[in-house]
């Protein structure tokens, strides 16, 4: 906040809350020469008034009142919008406050977004099909509900392949692993799947060996899975998995299980929660979605060539099971 006058006071104002009240206050202040930071918790300003039909007592249409103000606030040179952010703490004194603001990720580059709305219409996020379960809005991805299907990003890519705005975190993370170390710009891998992808083959093998040999074959991951539709299949077939052994064949048991649900998995995480040994099962699925079978075995090594071929063939037999990247 560099707009400081001679007396040590700051000529800037923070307005907390971007409803109609906050917008009007921001505009008035901005007009009188103050620099205004307009803070809003939700992804866009407007608040509740935008949802109303008529206003008391004049029966004016509320959008008629609100929308010019929205546009004005958005374009005013003295107003800086800080949306999708929350006030964490305030310190200092009258005339010179310091505030700490938590800015939440939006996963969409609003500079690039053209507002076409195709992302929100993609299969999974279409509100018409799934009432009250909107995962993607034009301006934000709801992280809590997002199942990382990637449909919205694909829609965005299709509309504007050169300059797409969606920064789908799943896609970003995957792209990150494909960067050379010098291209990463000092960033560290964030997820386990990324870390696994970045390991060399030896440590990757050790990693999975350590994680998967904890398995006590409780079948919990399979039993709780909402999309498991096979009756046992290979997991209970002695030809594939030798019965009565702990841990069951590493990594064959888990690879078979993951392949069987690869196309249907909704990333609900029940398998991981049910696992008495805290094995990172979801990471296996994530690798599986994004890699062709051959590279999956590279990501989760430990199988001999013959078994790999047999497995790939088996998986290809069933049309339900994904065999290549669909993007």
């Amino acid at each position: 906040m560099e707009r400081q006058s001679g007396n040590g006071k700051i000529g800037a104002v923070l307005v907390v809350g971007g409803g109609i009240g906050g917008i009007q206050a921001a505009l008035d202040l901005a007009e009188s020469g103050y620099y205004v930071y307009l803070l809003e918790k939700s992804p866009s300003i407007g608040g509740v008034m935008a949802q109303l039909d008529k206003t008391f007592p004049t029966n004016d249409c509320s959008m008629c009142i609100l929308s010019p103000k929205l546009v004005e606030a958005g374009r005013h040179l003295n107003i800086q919008l800080i949306t999708n952010a929350e006030l964490e703490e305030v310190s200092g004194e009258e005339g010179s406050f310091r505030v700490k603001i938590l800015k939440k990720p939006r996963y969409i580059d609003i500079e690039k977004c053209t507002g076409c709305g195709l992302c929100a219409q993609s299969d999974f996020s279409n509100p018409k099909e799934r009432e009250e379960e909107i995962w993607v809005d034009r301006v934000v991805i709801d992280e809590a509900n997002c199942i990382q299907c990637g449909e919205c990003t694909l829609a965005c890519l299709e509309e504007n392949p050169e300059n797409h705005a969606m920064t789908n975190i799943a896609l970003e993370r995957r792209n990150f692993t494909e960067l050379l170390p010098e291209q990463r710009g000092g960033r560290e891998p964030e997820t386990l799947a990324q870390r696994v992808a970045l390991m060399d083959e030896e440590s990757r093998k050790n990693f999975w060996q350590r994680e998967l040999s904890r398995c006590i074959k409780c079948f919990g991951c399979r039993d709780v899975c909402p999309v498991w539709i096979y009756d046992g299949a290979e997991l209970e077939d002695p030809e594939w998995i030798k019965p009565g052994e702990i841990p069951p064949s590493v990594p064959l048991f888990q690879i078979i299980r993951a392949y069987r649900i690869a196309n249907l998995c909704v990333n609900c995480g029940m398998c991981e929660e049910a696992c008495p040994m805290d094995i990172p099962l979801r990471t296996i699925h994530q690798l599986m979605w994004r890699q062709a079978p051959e590279s999956v075995f590279e990501m989760i090594p430990g199988l001999d060539r013959k078994t790999k071929q047999k497995l790939i063939q088996k998986v290809k037999e069933k049309p339900k099971v994904k065999t290549e990247i669909t993007r």
Partner: protein
């Protein structure tokens, strides 16, 4: 369609996981994990997940059976109970109350164990009551009472997660207590060091920092060796030893006789590994010991337990959070059955039979004169039956015909009885010998409480109506007592029995259904209605005052290999079956995983005997001989073979020896001499 979810406790191991039973129109359909349960956290092992599958099995006993001309015939409850009460009264009148032996059950609820204990003492008038704890943790109860004053797990299961060092000795935790091994793994993730002492390479060994692969039966020497190094390197907790313990000088003198070189010779563990283990344990701020049958099932069982207690006290690793000496109990309610006094020498809450005051209290409460002398243990009952001093037995929910050592001897004992009653949910191997079989209810058909390994008392709830004509064990015992002439058995529900337990047992005084149903987690001692229960024992003082060191010498196992029988046989359990298999062998999924047993043998021995993988071999000991498939594996030491005891077709206990620990009377399941040959 009506659908219910009933919160109850797993009927298998002692972890005490709670789960929901899904009931559709009065039929059990599934087990659903309970995410808010502190132990399981919504995770279950393979057995727990299938716990509903055996309940409605067609083999379930549906009506009382009476053996006539060598065949079982179904009869009415009235007739069956008449015969039992008449026969028991007759034996009592003719040969005295001590000619009747009673086995209670670690599978039944606390209430039922208490009731059977009361039945034995007040109605029959004998202290001949015992249960299968004799075969698993009898030495723990004796040993830890001597050292600390209380014979149970000192700390709770969730605390294991916080330890810096975990020493697992004689426990196949990952297979037998899966949800406890979860905690071990978590501690490991947080940076704890793991020491595993086991003659077999159990799955846990793969995660150990140090594996002490000692010869079976050399535990005392091993632990003395560890203590020697700890004292030599000055890692003992001098303050703790001075303030909280007694008898240290004696121990120190004894420990001097166990330098690492000598220990290495006895145990087969090399000096460097031994020293590293001692340092890891000695230097840790919070070290926890987990142990199970590998320590207790020896003729030196009590001494092994005392050694473990010595080690913990020497380094001050008791009476604090995430430390302690933690015996892992094998059955869902074996802790509770011990607590309820289903033991020949104590009443509920470990109040001594010999203690006049305790006896007077129970006499007053029950309005009868009680016997003064401790009765026979389960293992002694067998001999008594053979020599004729025991005439009748009442067995509730146990299957000694597969679980006791030297089962040929035991079967002889059962068949020489004048009268045998078995009360069970299936026609077990032992029930085949019975004159009368009474059908009981499984865990899903009755109310009650189970006490888990960490002394946590939890509610078992009724999910479905009893199968066939079966009745809950407490109803059967009450009705029988009524017929024999007891007036003290008019209970309408287990809740009333729990009230009686609480009034007579100080450590259970604050436990009531009301508190448990309100979601309270209560671990005894729980001394009053307001008492919050006890997470870990011996906080400021040991139960007996000061912790007592016992100088223990290494003794060899009773039967060692020789020219005729050159191999050591050690027995145990596997992941996919449970004890004598009465329940798990009726669960198709588990049976598919592990349909039969095999003898584990080292490739070296296999080569010498020219045995190939999967071949049928014969295993013979001085007691008997079995035929079994060979499984060649490096997981076991040369000179040692391992057989699981679950399987009636290849029963390991046909081979095991009857040598007992002199104090705890626990048989030596873990060491006996055998030979393996091709038939």
């Amino acid at each position: 369609m009506k659908c219910d979810f009933v919160l109850t406790v797993c009927p298998f191991c002692g972890c005490g996981c709670q789960f929901y039973l899904e009931v559709m129109d009065g039929e059990l359909t599934e087990v659903l994990p309970c995410k808010t349960d502190e132990i399981s956290e919504g995770k279950l092992c393979v057995k727990g997940r299938r716990a509903a599958d055996f309940v409605s099995h067609p083999d379930r006993l549906k009506s009382p059976l009476i053996k006539r001309n060598g065949r079982f015939e179904p009869v009415s409850w009235g007739e069956a109970l008449d015969i039992v009460s008449r026969q028991l009264s007759k034996v009592k009148q003719k040969h005295g109350p001590d000619s009747i032996g009673i086995l209670s059950s670690a599978k039944c609820t606390n209430e039922e164990n208490f009731l059977l204990m009361k039945f034995a003492r007040a109605i029959i008038g004998t202290n001949n009551i015992d249960h299968c704890a004799r075969l698993c943790h009898a030495s723990t109860v004796v040993g830890l009472v001597k050292a600390f004053g209380s014979g149970a797990m000192t700390n709770s299961v969730p605390e294991i997660e916080g330890a810096d060092c975990i020493f697992v000795i004689g426990s196949n935790t990952m297979e037998q207590h899966p949800l406890i091994s979860t905690r071990v793994m978590r501690a490991k993730e947080k940076g704890a060091r793991l020491i595993v002492a086991d003659p077999r390479c159990t799955p846990l060994v793969g995660f150990a920092d140090v594996h002490l692969q000692h010869r079976p039966g050399t535990d005392v020497a091993l632990i003395n060796g560890l203590m020697h190094v700890i004292i030599r390197d000055g890692l003992e907790d001098k303050e703790f030893i001075r303030d909280r313990t007694e008898g240290f000088e004696e121990l120190e003198k004894k420990i001097r006789q166990y330098p690492p070189e000598k220990v290495s010779q006895i145990t087969g563990v090399d000096v460097v590994t031994l020293e590293e283990a001692a340092r890891l344990y000695g230097q840790a701020k919070k070290a926890s010991i987990l142990y199970a049958m590998g320590i207790t099932q020896h003729t030196t069982g009590t001494e092994n337990v005392l050694s473990v207690a010595n080690l913990a006290m020497l380094t001050g690793n008791v009476s604090r959070e995430s430390t302690g000496v933690n015996p892992l109990r094998g059955q869902n309610n074996v802790q509770g059955a011990c607590d309820m006094g289903a033991l020949p020498d104590v009443y509920s809450g470990y109040q001594r039979v010999k203690d006049k005051e305790a006896r007077a209290k129970f006499e007053k409460a029950w309005g009868v004169k009680l016997p003064q002398e401790p009765g026979l243990t389960a293992t002694e009952m067998t001999d008594a039956a053979i020599n004729g001093s025991l005439k009748a037995m009442y067995i509730m929910g146990e299957n000694p015909a597969l679980s006791d050592p030297d089962i040929d001897h035991l079967k002889k004992a059962l068949s020489s009885l004048d009268f045998l009653v078995v009360q069970d949910i299936f026609l077990s191997e032992a029930a085949q010998f019975a004159h009368v079989v009474l059908p009981a209810c499984s865990f899903a058909e009755k109310e009650g409480t189970f006490t888990a390994t960490d002394r946590r008392v939890q509610r078992v709830r009724k999910a479905i109506e009893p199968i066939g004509d079966s009745k809950p064990d407490w109803v059967i015992v009450s009705e029988l007592a009524g017929r024999i002439g007891g007036t003290q058995f008019n209970y309408t529900s287990p809740r009333e029995i729990m009230e009686e337990i609480a009034s007579l047992t100080p450590s259970y005084a604050g436990i009531s259904y009301q508190r448990l149903d309100n979601g309270k987690v209560l671990a005894w001692p729980c001394l009053s209605e307001e008492h919050p229960g006890t997470r870990f024992l011996h906080r400021d003082a040991f139960t007996r005052g000061k912790g007592r060191f016992f100088a223990v010498d290494y003794r060899e196992p009773a039967e060692l290999p020789d020219k005729d029988y050159p191999l050591i046989l050690t027995t145990g359990r596997l992941m996919f079956q449970y004890h004598t298999g009465t329940m798990t062998r009726r669960i198709p999924m588990l049976e598919r995983e592990l349909p039969t047993g095999s003898v584990e043998i080292n490739p070296k021995d296999a080569k010498n005997l020219s045995i190939s993988q999967g071949e049928m071999v014969k295993v013979k000991s001085r007691r008997g001989e079995i035929e079994i498939r060979a499984r060649i594996t490096k997981e076991i030491l040369p000179g040692v073979v391992f057989i699981p005891f679950h399987f009636a077709e290849c029963p390991a206990n046909k081979l095991t020896s009857r040598h007992l620990d002199p104090e705890a009377k626990i048989p030596e399941f873990k060491v006996c001499a055998v030979k393996v040959y091709k038939g």
